[in-house]
């Protein structure tokens, strides 16, 4: 078996595409003007920034003036949630509805607000990793300022019923924000049609560079300024525009949303082959709904082994993957996402996430399906937990 290099962690980050890089490069050495400057070099930069804004708007069905560039998805989430909290608190609304399995950019922001007088309701998710719009509806109160529910989960890839959730929010006149960092470029998004009031997205998940994000804010919603200073981003977020990154994001989002269904048609059969192949191993389970999931997401729990050692061994075979084990989360607890869908701690420790795009070939799939069982067998052979399971003893 010849060693390959397979990048199967696109949910973590992606490579900058050649198309994006080529669009960015002139903005470093020749077209480097400050978009606020009056001369042609500056005006050109301004034009390119606005062109990128148009592209982002078009990609999600928004208007250009509803698009604000930020430095990352986390910043967008923070701004949306803390901004609305600040505005609505003045009207006496100090309650936020979110879900238990949000990204930490949302969860920790809500925890912060909870320390500052806000009440947070965390709606549960089903064992398939789906939010029930009814739960959201029931959680909304008179004093609810905001509902924030992610579009697609970053670990298990489940796609939430966004349109239905938006509908229950509007029924009760509550603003709806969604963290769509994992969804953009993988599923069709139309903020107007779907009733999304605010949406966060990130460039580096769709082949733009790291350090650029977007917050879409529907016309009519007032957010307080995030950074005070110059007049950039319609006075809302001061700071000289990161022109190369913005231009790159424009190209990236156009490319990512150009042929979503064609890409999915290539990726889904490979994803399914990976899922079915890995599930051949005994004591494994697929995490997250099989149908309502991102085209490239595979998340499987493999009992008897621990995730980080699995990743380190896969790395030796040139496979880049991810896990929800405690050892990769930096705490003693495994992923809150896996716990939220009802996994026991010891099962959650042994999860494997692969997130593939269309550059992972059928041969790559074969290779992964050859390597994973080998590595799992090796780790299980040295695992006292596996030994206990095989002896029918209780695992504590």
């Amino acid at each position: 078996m010849e060693k390959r290099f397979i990048y199967a962690d696109n949910a973590a980050t992606t490579a900058v595409s050649e198309e994006v890089l080529n669009a960015m490069l002139p903005h470093f050495r020749t077209a480097y003007g400050n978009a606020s400057s009056i001369y042609k070099l500056g005006r050109d930069a301004q034009r390119d920034v606005e062109e990128a804004r148009d592209k982002v708007a078009k990609a999600i069905g928004a208007e250009p003036k509803e698009i604000f560039f930020t430095s990352c998805g986390s910043e967008s989430d923070n701004w949306a949630i803390k901004g609305i909290a600040e505005t609505m608190a003045k009207k006496g609304k100090k309650h936020i509805v979110t879900s238990v399995f949000e990204h930490h950019a949302v969860l920790h922001t809500c925890e912060y607000l909870a320390k500052h007088g806000f009440e947070i309701t965390y709606v549960p998710v089903s064992d398939k990793g789906l939010v029930d719009p009814e739960d959201v509806k029931n959680a909304i109160r008179e004093d609810t300022a905001l509902v924030t529910i992610m579009y697609a989960n970053n670990e298990i890839g489940t796609i939430q019923p966004i349109e239905e959730i938006a509908a229950v929010c509007h029924e009760k006149n509550v603003i709806f924000h969604t963290d769509a960092v994992q969804a953009v470029g993988h599923v069709e998004i139309d903020v107007k049609k779907q009733g999304i009031d605010m949406l966060s997205l990130s460039g580096h998940k769709i082949h733009a560079q790291k350090g650029i994000g977007v917050l879409y804010v529907r016309k009519g919603i007032t957010l307080p300024n995030l950074i005070h200073g110059g007049a950039q981003e319609r006075n809302k977020r001061a700071g000289t525009e990161n022109v190369p990154a913005i231009v790159g994001l424009g190209v990236a989002i156009e490319a990512a949303t150009r042929n979503i269904s064609e890409k999915a048609a290539v990726i889904i059969p490979r994803r399914n082959r990976l899922i079915d192949g890995i599930l051949q191993l005994p004591y494994t389970r697929l995490n997250g709904d099989r149908e309502k999931r991102l085209p490239g997401n595979i998340n499987i729990s493999i009992e008897g082994i621990e995730g980080e050692s699995l990743l380190l061994m896969l790395d030796q075979y040139g496979i880049c993957a991810s896990s929800g084990s405690a050892c990769t989360s930096g705490s003693l607890d495994p992923s809150h996402v896996l716990l939220s869908i009802g996994l026991k701690h010891e099962v959650a420790h042994g999860s494997l996430r692969l997130s593939i795009e269309d550059d992972v070939t059928d041969e790559d799939v074969d290779y992964i399906l050859e390597v994973v069982p080998k590595v799992v067998e090796r780790l299980r052979s040295m695992s006292p937990v596996w030994e206990k399971m095989m002896n029918g003893e209780e695992v504590k």
Partner: protein, 138 residues
């Protein structure tokens, strides 16, 4: 997170993996909930640890510290093995990331747990010799 070359080496090629049949002392420490379990087997002749093996469920550092701990006590006297500290394991591995130090504590405690079992099997109260075994906090 940065693992040293030594840690990666002991993870990729762990020394002394397996079990010892009719071991003179067997110790187990940790729990699956926390994500680390180490099981250690010792063969002891005339107060000398002639063989040591382990099985570990855990991260790269858990496997590497188990491997290093068995290396450090093989051929040593029980007294020397009882002096094995987690710091010595960390040092022998050229360091561990701060969040992984608890793995070296587990390795130290796994050795002590196996020695404790050895004394119990000999009909000797291990507590005055080995002391309390510290289970990791949940």
């Amino acid at each position: 997170m940065m693992y040293s070359e030594k840690v990666l080496d002991h993870f990729s090629n762990p020394r002394n993996v397996g079990e010892i049949e009719n071991a003179d002392g067997v110790g187990e420490i940790g729990n699956a909930k926390c994500g680390d379990i180490m099981k250690m087997y010792l063969k002891i002749d005339n107060g000398i640890i002639t063989d040591a093996k382990f099985k570990t469920f855990g991260c790269g550092a858990a496997i590497a510290t188990s491997s290093m701990a068995t290396e450090l006590i093989k051929g040593k006297s029980i007294d020397d093995a009882l002096k094995l500290t987690n710091d010595a394991v960390v040092e022998a591995l050229d360091g561990l990331p701060a969040v992984k130090i608890h793995c070296s504590v587990l390795a130290e405690q796994a050795v002590r747990s196996a020695l404790s079992d050895y004394y119990t099997k000999q009909g000797i109260d291990p507590l005055p010799i080995v002391g309390e075994i510290k289970e990791p906090e949940e």
